[in-house]
Each structure stands twice: as structure tokens, then as C-alpha cells.
């Protein structure tokens, strides 16, 4: 993979001065693995968090690059609420290894969305990830997507947060070798 990625970056360098933009469809790597779904089941009056962790492999050579911007350019999650009343928000954490995603500060916070009874609510996930720019200079980045649910009703809030799209846009200044 390393050699192939270096060849890819060679194309960038050969094309003159400019910016190299990588649109990484992270969702495509999660889809169908079960990691795109975060189940929640919160008793009345309580709150809880469930999360999923995914490794993202990036082309090597970014280490000498200057990361211009990193952002989630498009993303959507469906809150497929089976029952109960409450709110559900998403938080994204990035770190250089899996365990560190549990101690890393929040990179992107998606405000809570109210759910009530059986319904499906689409939640857009977009935002700037400039706080974790430096992580994208490594070949591997781990992302943890956490769903934080709060039960404001009298019955269990139960359902799934299902990721439907997640594209990370990484813009590099043209110094990739």
C-alpha cells in the first residue's frame, strides 16, 4: 500500500504547484461492517454514551506535508429511534491510536437532536477539524464516533444511530515528499 500511495503522491508532485486535496469517504470503509451503527438504550431519567472506533489509513508521506485544512465536508447520521423521548448528540474524537480516542478532547460536537417515539431523524455531520490537523500527518488516524443520549421521558429511549455518509476533506500544501 505504501508504494502505491507514494506513486499516487508522485502524481501530485508532477502536476506543479498547488494543493493536494484528498476526499476520503470514511463511511465507505465503515459501511456493512456493523461499525456504522451505534445502538443506544437509555433508561428513564438517565443519560449514556455509546461509540464506535474506526481506523483510517492515509497515504504515507504526509509527515513532511503542511496540512492546510481538515474538515468533514459531508456527513449524515440517521437517528432511528424505536421508542422513548429524549435527545441524542454526536461527538467525534480523533487520535493516533484506538485507546487514545477515549481520552482525546472532542474534535467535533454535533448538537443534540430531540427524538420522540418511533421515528427516523436525519442529522447532518459537518464541521472543521482544524484542532486535530497534526494527526493527519500520520499514516494512521483513529476516529471514534460517540452518540450521547439523554432520556427525558418515562420509558426507555431505544434505537440506533446509523451513519449514512462521512467524507473527510484533507487539504495539503503541495509538499508531500
Amino acid at each position: 500500500m505504501k508504494f502505491f500511495a507514494v506513486a499516487l503522491l508522485a502524481v501530485v508532485a508532477a502536476c506543479g504547484q498547488g494543493k493536494a486535496i484528498f476526499n476520503v469517504d470514511a463511511y465507505s470503509f465503515l459501511q456493512g461492517t456493523g461499525k456504522d451503527t451505534i445502538p443506544y438504550n437509555i433508561p428513564p431519567g438517565l443519560s449514556g454514551t455509546a461509540s464506535t472506533v474506526q481506523k483510517i489509513s492515509l497515504p504515507p508521506g504526509f509527515g513532511s506535508s503542511i496540512v492546510d485544512t481538515v474538515r468533514i465536508s459531508s456527513g449524515t447520521a440517521n437517528l432511528e429511534n424505536a421508542g422513548g423521548t429524549g435527545t441524542i448528540g454526536f461527538q467525534l474524537f480523533f487520535a493516533s491510536d484506538s485507546a487514545a480516542t477515549y481520552t482525546a478532547p472532542v474534535a467535533l460536537n454535533i448538537p443534540a437532536t430531540a427524538v420522540n417515539g418511533a421515528q427516523t431523524v436525519a442529522v447532518p455531520i459537518t464541521g472543521d477539524l482544524s484542532g486535530v490537523d497534526s494527526l493527519f500527518q500520520h499514516e494512521t488516524v483513529y476516529i471514534r464516533i460517540a452518540a450521547t443520549a439523554t432520556n427525558t421521558g418515562a420509558t426507555f429511549v431505544i434505537g440506533n444511530g446509523v451513519l449514512k455518509a462521512l467524507v473527510i476533506r484533507i487539504v495539503l500544501q503541495d509538499k508531500v515528499l
Partner: protein, 460 residues
């Protein structure tokens, strides 16, 4: 160090396919020639170098404005050194690959266009964003404006040039030495890869994408013995020794060269990649398996020859020279290596197949056909067709003289099959003249023409 090596490789592999092959054929120190889009109306060194029959034709110094010597006025160097002071090249983004502003295309354009003359209009350097879309089953490469540099068909470049011509003439014989430089690079993208790079098409699952490469470069010098003879004389005219009539006749010539190659290298091999389904479900398989030959010792040896003929009749003359016939060099000590992708190490591996092998290389046959017509009243029209191993270039030019003044113009079809234009003028005062010529060219990694102003002083 690593960066420099990588950049060099990139320049060679990624940019070389796009190079215009026209550079060396059109590059001239003579602003008069440049003002006629590259055609030479005189019997200068270029004619003798590529047509041995011209060694029997007298120089017509003073007759049609042919100078004894031409001295270029390097206006472009002044600007270049102002922009790029030599003492600061190590930190100059133009030359420093570690700089974030370093642009390999710009550097290559500089090599293709030595900054001797003043650039009136530069070809734009691609400075655009390159965008990759990567998903588990998706790979799209959008090269932006640079896509136009991806050729639509098989492409290559080559040159078989003679860099110098030193020697002495004794009677009909000429003994001398010439330098030669030959390179030929051919790349062939398969249609799938071309579609991906040029049309921003998505990479398809379970597909292979390939580029085939065959490149050779060799240089050296060749001691030569040539013979030229005037076979016929024209009919006497009044005055019999007028400039127009003095050279009438048919001339033939031949030359034998003993080639002494200084160094050579050749690389042949396919490269590419195969993707599975989904595309990034598994690591794409890299295809790279090439052979490289390089000379361990100088003095590859071989014998070849040139033949030429020229016919002059009053104001009209035409010539044809064919060069490097049978020129094959034998290199007694060559290293042959295999360079291939090693999937186990995910890297390139190099193995030596034969450390000391004998190999052969050939020089392509090149030809120069030229014609000129002196129409009287100071008008001279000329044309030449030149092929140095690859694409043919054609130049047509005209010069009009009024006393000390000259006006010139010309058109050319270069090796990229693009039309180029030139115009210029000059003034002669006594034994000296100053000339200026403007020409368009496509000697850059761009589809857009550049325009250069050349200036030179002529000594008559």
C-alpha cells in the same frame, strides 16, 4: 537528498512524456534565423553538419547577408539572474525541492527554455489543485488544469543532434570531430489509464492500468572523415563570376564516422497497478518490472556514415543530407539490472542480471532537406525539413533586404505538430549588424505558446 532523488525521478517519469521534442532543433543563437521561425537561409554550420555535400560549397559571405560570426545578446540572462541570484540558489524555490513553493514543472520549463533570450510571453505553469476522491470502492484523480498535459495518444520524444563540428579541410577532404547526443523516450499509456488521468474517470474495480516505457540516451563524439565534390558547373553567365552563378552545379558528399560513445543508459519496462473489487478492499497490486542497461565504461564503438547532395542553379538551391547510416555502437561493458516491485517488502528491488555484458545501441537515421530561392530585389525564401529520429519539423521563412535593413518572417510546424511563427528585422552598418527576432514556441509543459525575443550581433 531523498527529496532531490525523488523529484528527479518524478521529473523523468512523470514529466518527460510531456516534453516537446522541438527544443534543440529550433534553438539557435542567431536572431535572424529565429526571426524566420528557425529556417536557415545561409550555408551555415548546420547545413554542413547534416549534409556533407555542403562542404564543397563556398561560403557566400556578404552575398545574402550571411555573417562570419554571430554573437547572441543574452537579455534573458539579465532578467533571470535578477530574479534568481546565483548565490541564493540553495534557498531559491525554483531550485530547492524542499521549498513549499518548489514547482517541478517550472524547473522543467526552465531546462527546456534556457533563459538566454527575453521572454515576451511565458507559457503558463500549471499551478492548480489536484484532487483525489478515495473510498473503499472508489478512486478518482482530478488533475485539474494539468489534465491537458496528458497526451491523447502514444507519445515520446527524441533527438539525435550534433553538438559541435571541429576540423580542417584539405582539398576535398575534411577531417574533424563532432559530438553527438541521442535520446529517445517513448511512453504509452493504455486507454484505461489515459481515461482516468485525462478524463477524470473513476478507476474501475477489477481493472489494470499500465504505462509502457522505452527510453534510451547516449552521448559521445565521433572522429570523421568526409569527402565532398562538385560534380558539375553551371553555364557561364555575364558576369561569369557573379555571386548567383559562381556556385552553380551539383555537389555530393559523404562522411564516415567512428563513433566513440561516452556513456549510455536504457530502460524498458511496464509499470502500473491492478485494483481488486472493491478497489481498496485489498491493497492494489503494483505492476513494475523493468530492465535497465547502463555502460560501465566509456567508448562504445561503431562505424556509420552520412551522404548528401546539393544542387545550386542561379538563385535556387536545394539539398538533402542523410545521417548516421548504419550507426550501431557496441558497448563492451554494460551492467544489466532488473528493477521490479517486490510485494513482500512493498518496495522497489534491484537485482543485477549481468554485471559485465556486451550490448549494442543504434543511432537513428536523421535527415535534413533544405531549399532556398534568392528572388532578386533583396528577397530570399527558404525552407527546410528536419527529422532527428522522431517527429519531423518544417520551417519556412523569408527575408527582405533594403540596403542595410532587413525584414524577416516565417512559419514552422514543430515536433508537437503545432504551428509556430517568427518575425524580426535587423540593420547592418559596415562589418557589423544587429538583429532581433521574435518567435513563438511550445517548448514548455503547456498547451499555450510562449513568445521570445532574440537579439544578436553579426560580424560580416
Amino acid at each position: 537528498m531523498r527529496t532531490g532523488v525523488v523529484v528527479s525521478v518524478l521529473l523523468a517519469l512523470a514529466l518527460v512524456p510531456l516534453l516537446p521534442g522541438r527544443v534543440h532543433a529550433q534553438f539557435s543563437l542567431d536572431a535572424r534565423r529565429i526571426g524566420m521561425a528557425g529556417v536557415s537561409l545561409g550555408r551555415d554550420g548546420s547545413a554542413r553538419r547534416y549534409n556533407p555535400a555542403y562542404r564543397a560549397v563556398k561560403n557566400r559571405s556578404g552575398g545574402v547577408g550571411q555573417a562570419k560570426a554571430t554573437i547572441p545578446i543574452p537579455l534573458g540572462l539579465i532578467t533571470f539572474f535578477q530574479d534568481h541570484p546565483p548565490g541564493k540558489w540553495s534557498s531559491d524555490p525554483m531550485f530547492n525541492p524542499d521549498s513549499t513553493a518548489f514547482n517541478p514543472v517550472e524547473l522543467m520549463n526552465l531546462i527546456l527554455n534556457p533563459p538566454l533570450y527575453y521572454e515576451l510571453k511565458r507559457a503558463p505553469t500549471p499551478t492548480n489543485d489536484v484532487e483525489f476522491t478515495i473510498g473503499k470502492n472508489q478512486l478518482i484523480m482530478n488533475l485539474g488544469n494539468t489534465r491537458v498535459l496528458i497526451p491523447e495518444e502514444k507519445f515520446g520524444l527524441g533527438m539525435n543532434g550534433r553538438l559541435l563540428d571541429l576540423g580542417v579541410s584539405i582539398s576535398n577532404f575534411h577531417v574533424g570531430v563532432m559530438g553527438f547526443l541521442h535520446y529517445d523516450v517513448e511512453f504509452a499509456l493504455d486507454s484505461a489509464l489515459r481515461h482516468v488521468l485525462r478524463d477524470t474517470a473513476a478507476v474501475q474495480p477489477d481493472s489494470s492500468y499500465r504505462i509502457l516505457t522505452d527510453a534510451v540516451a547516449q552521448t559521445g563524439f565521433m572522429p570523421s572523415l568526409s569527402f565532398a565534390q562538385r560534380l558539375t558547373h553551371g553555364k557561364p553567365t555575364v558576369p561569369a563570376d557573379s555571386l548567383e552563378a559562381a556556385d552553380d552545379g551539383i555537389y555530393v558528399g559523404g562522411a564516415v564516422h567512428y563513433y566513440l560513445g561516452a556513456t549510455y543508459a536504457r530502460g524498458v519496462g511496464p509499470a502500473g497497478f491492478t485494483v481488486g473489487n472493491p478497489i481498496f478492499g485489498a491493497t492494489p497490486t503494483v505492476l513494475f518490472d523493468g530492465a535497465v542497461q547502463s555502460s560501465n565504461k566509456p567508448f562504445g564503438k561503431g562505424i556509420g556514415g552520412d551522404v548528401g547532395v546539393a544542387w545550386i542553379s542561379g538563385p535556387f538551391e536545394v539539398g538533402l543530407g542523410v545521417n548516421d547510416l548504419g550507426a550501431e555502437l557496441t558497448w563492451s561493458d554494460t551492467k544489466i539490472q532488473r528493477i521490479y516491485y517486490d510485494p513482500a517488502g512493498d518496495s522497489l528491488s534491484v537485482t543485477t542480471l549481468q554485471p559485465h555484458a556486451q550490448t549494442k545501441t543504434k543511432l537513428p537515421v536523421s535527415y535534413l532537406a533544405n531549399a532556398a530561392l534568392r528572388m532578386g530585389t533583396g528577397t530570399t525564401v527558404g525552407a527546410d525539413v528536419f527529422n532527428a529520429g522522431r517527429q519531423t519539423s518544417i520551417h519556412v521563412g523569408v527575408e527582405q533586404r533594403w540596403g542595410p535593413f532587413a525584414l524577416r518572417g516565417g512559419v514552422a510546424r514543430d515536433q508537437r505538430k503545432q504551428m509556430q511563427f517568427g518575425f524580426g528585422g535587423g540593420i547592418r552598418v559596415g562589418a557589423f549588424g544587429i538583429d532581433a527576432g521574435v518567435f513563438t514556441h511550445s517548448n514548455s509543459l503547456s498547451e499555450t505558446r510562449a513568445m521570445t525575443l532574440a537579439t544578436s550581433i553579426s560580424v560580416y
